[in-house]
Symmetry: C2
Subunit: 135 residues, 2 copies
Amino acid sequence: MTTPAPVSAGSRDLPHPPREEIRLEGVLQALSDPMRLRIVRELAAVGDELSCSQFDLPVTKSTSTHHFRVLRETGVIRQVYRGTAKLNGLREDDLDDLFPGLLAGVLDAAARQDARLGSGPALPSGHAAPRRGQQ
Amino acid sequence: MTTPAPVSAGSRDLPHPPREEIRLEGVLQALSDPMRLRIVRELAAVGDELSCSQFDLPVTKSTSTHHFRVLRETGVIRQVYRGTAKLNGLREDDLDDLFPGLLAGVLDAAARQDARLGSGPALPSGHAAPRRGQQ
DNA sequence: TCGTTCGTACGATAGTCATCGTAGTACGGC
DNA sequence: GCCGTACTACGATGACTATCGTACGAACGA
């Protein structure tokens, strides 16, 4: 089986949970990680889809992949291949339908905390290991 | 060191984080556990303080203590000794000040999810191990 | 076809955490 | 003073997870 049939022309597709299977506990857990909260905040700020490499995260590519996958599998983001890149977008529609106001509340809370802690108007910085491997 | 000096007369007091030290990530993580979310929902529903033993949680007392401590240390609840019992109350004031609407949003989301999944109007039931040890 | 870029898969590792059981402390009533 | 109730502390354990590094796969451009 050496990749029998790639099928998809311009996009392999990734497994996403359907709207009804998104669980609040999962979403909260996903958002409770600083790295993932940062990703989500940036996506919300941009209001558009971003490829993984557009985020300047202080972790290696493998770890980055891990976090994006967690976000996708918990239903927080949507991922689509676009050529060699992978576009990430918030599932605002689904989240707002299931849990109206929740995402906005978390984003607002994060912004307030940032302002309060004086992390400047931009996004927060490190929190764990600032070492950067291969990336 | 056999408890050198208990100090407090009628109430040993427990360490709570001051309002300014409550972190969003901590709160989200605390709420992402089903058992703890259940505790918080019950506290919010009652709107008053409850002792630990008033919750009928499907875990042993040790585990219960653990969850209450996590909630206290992350700043979600306030705990005060009252005789042999320990009263637990939501820190709604502090949370609403730091993150307006967040707690309400999470509680509302939990209620909606319950309704959607048909867990009845009451609180959800088990989710992990229904075995009950000493308790 | 070749190389580059972007991301994945896999294995390893260290840390955290939810859970338990047992033993112990604090308070209040008898 | 003694006992029961309420909760804690400690140690153990199994599971999960955030991180890394290396090796690989897929798309694109020259």
